[in-house]
Symmetry: C2
């Protein structure tokens, strides 16, 4: 495994594989790796001959009052985990390598970036699409793998790839969970022991909603109520949003249809956790 | 020469050249070709093994009150001219091929797109960067050629390529002019005979300004006055803007320095003509 910090060095290394007709897979991350990230690497390895993992805490996707400065980092541990699961290249640039001054160009999706997490995180998805497009142009992967946990992110990136004709296949891999159902997230480390104890209520509420849909419930209003009342049983949970939306447009639905999923964001103290589940598959 | 209307067909054709290590050159146009476009093809041919010209009147770069519907078109003539000057592929898509519904993702440069032509053409450059990025991802050229006549466009595209790490070399080719100095433009066809007779005053004013700078004038205010008074000698000319700016940031300068150029837009009736000249080269 090689660790590269410069764009030109990575391009040079990858051009050899590309000339040999080998497929390149990309797994973009912000580091502080957990089993969710490693599952993305496994998917990338199944679909490519060489796997690049980027580790970059992207400043443009953090709002002014968010956790950029305290976002957890542990590169030595990330390096070991990436090596163990068979990553070929870690791309680990510093901020000035990715955002030299002046930097003016952003990729925006106004329709999809102002709902769900976009309501409380105004500039977040603009930062995500911009950094992902940069990584796409730097790595020029055949395939890139994202996690279903960040459902809105994955949908916005799929739309970007379609709209801007990136010649890249996007794979979205299932959410990896703790044994009690809590979705893995680098931010789980922020939780106090009591918050951590209460956090699985999020996934309990989602699975309860899906079970209710299987039993015939199909009104978004009723499903929303069910989830809200379930999460309310956790005294430290504060709901940011519960939204029942279409997986292609991210617009709210009133009645569950194929492609409807529910996405939630819940605060425990300052820590904001997100999760989602399909109510009916396409 | 082949004419292709489908993205997948063009990609398939070009993949053969790419595999053989041949360099691909792209000349994006809106058709209604003139000698300015053909000079871009010649530059592309000098810098690539195979030349793709796109002909697409891009709706997203026209405002609601602009000339999209009446923009001049003559594909039969364009085809003949492109063939004569050695284009290998014309990419000639229809609108639904480039903008299938739903379409949500745009590329924006807020700093550089709201000055000069961006003041009167609010969404213009968002449309330009978006369509050019799409063409970049479809053609994946090694080099792309743009004209200096559209100076702001060329600068915004250079910035996009740098900011988003497109692995593409941008060449900006000199403005081609009529013998009386009028910059070639597909929109010149809109001019009445009397408007056409008065139109060369634009370039006269620009060359007079550059001569004044060579003779020691360096105040942007004075240069602006000189250009304004010269253009005012043409009774049908109505000045939209005269701006003296830096060629990397597009911000106004007070004193001429290396990299300073003057850009103007002038209306003759409904027809809006633009031109520019360097006051001092870098």
């Amino acid at each position: 495994m090689q660790i590269l910090t410069k764009i030109e060095d990575l391009r040079k290394e990858l051009s050899v594989f590309r000339r040999n007709g080998q497929r390149i897979g990309l797994v973009p991350t912000m580091g502080y790796l957990h089993a969710g990230h490693l599952s993305l690497v496994n998917v990338a390895k199944e679909n490519a001959d060489v796997v690049v993992m980027s580790i970059f805490v992207n400043p443009t996707q953090f709002g002014p009052n968010e956790d950029l400065a305290r976002y957890p980092r542990d590169f030595a541990r990330d390096e070991r985990l990436a090596r163990e699961c068979g990553v070929d290249f870690i791309f680990y640039p510093e901020v000035p390598e990715m955002y030299p001054e002046p930097f003016f160009t952003y990729i925006v999706n106004e329709q999809m970036a102002q709902v769900l997490c976009g309501v409380s995180r105004q500039i977040h998805f603009r930062g995500v699409t911009t950094i992902v497009a940069k990584l796409f142009n730097i790595v020029q992967p055949d395939v890139a793998v994202f996690g279903q946990k960040d459902a809105q992110q994955a949908i916005i990136i799929r739309q970007m790839v379609a709209d801007l004709n990136f010649p890249i296949r996007i794979i979205v891999a299932p959410t990896v969970r703790e044994s009690d159902g809590l979705a893995l997230s680098s931010r789980n480390v922020y939780l106090s022991p009591e918050e951590r104890r209460q956090a699985p209520v999020i996934y309990s509420a989602l699975t309860k909603a899906r079970a209710a849909v299987r039993d015939g419930m199909n009104s978004a209003t009723e499903i929303n109520k069910l989830i809200r009342s379930t999460i309310a049983t956790a005294s430290l949970a504060r709901i940011d949003y519960i939204e029942i939306v279409d997986d292609r447009t991210l617009t709210s639905v009133e009645i569950v249809e194929p492609g409807t999923f529910v996405a939630v964001a819940v605060y425990y103290g300052q820590t904001r956790l997100i999760d989602n589940i399909y109510l009916k598959e396409r």
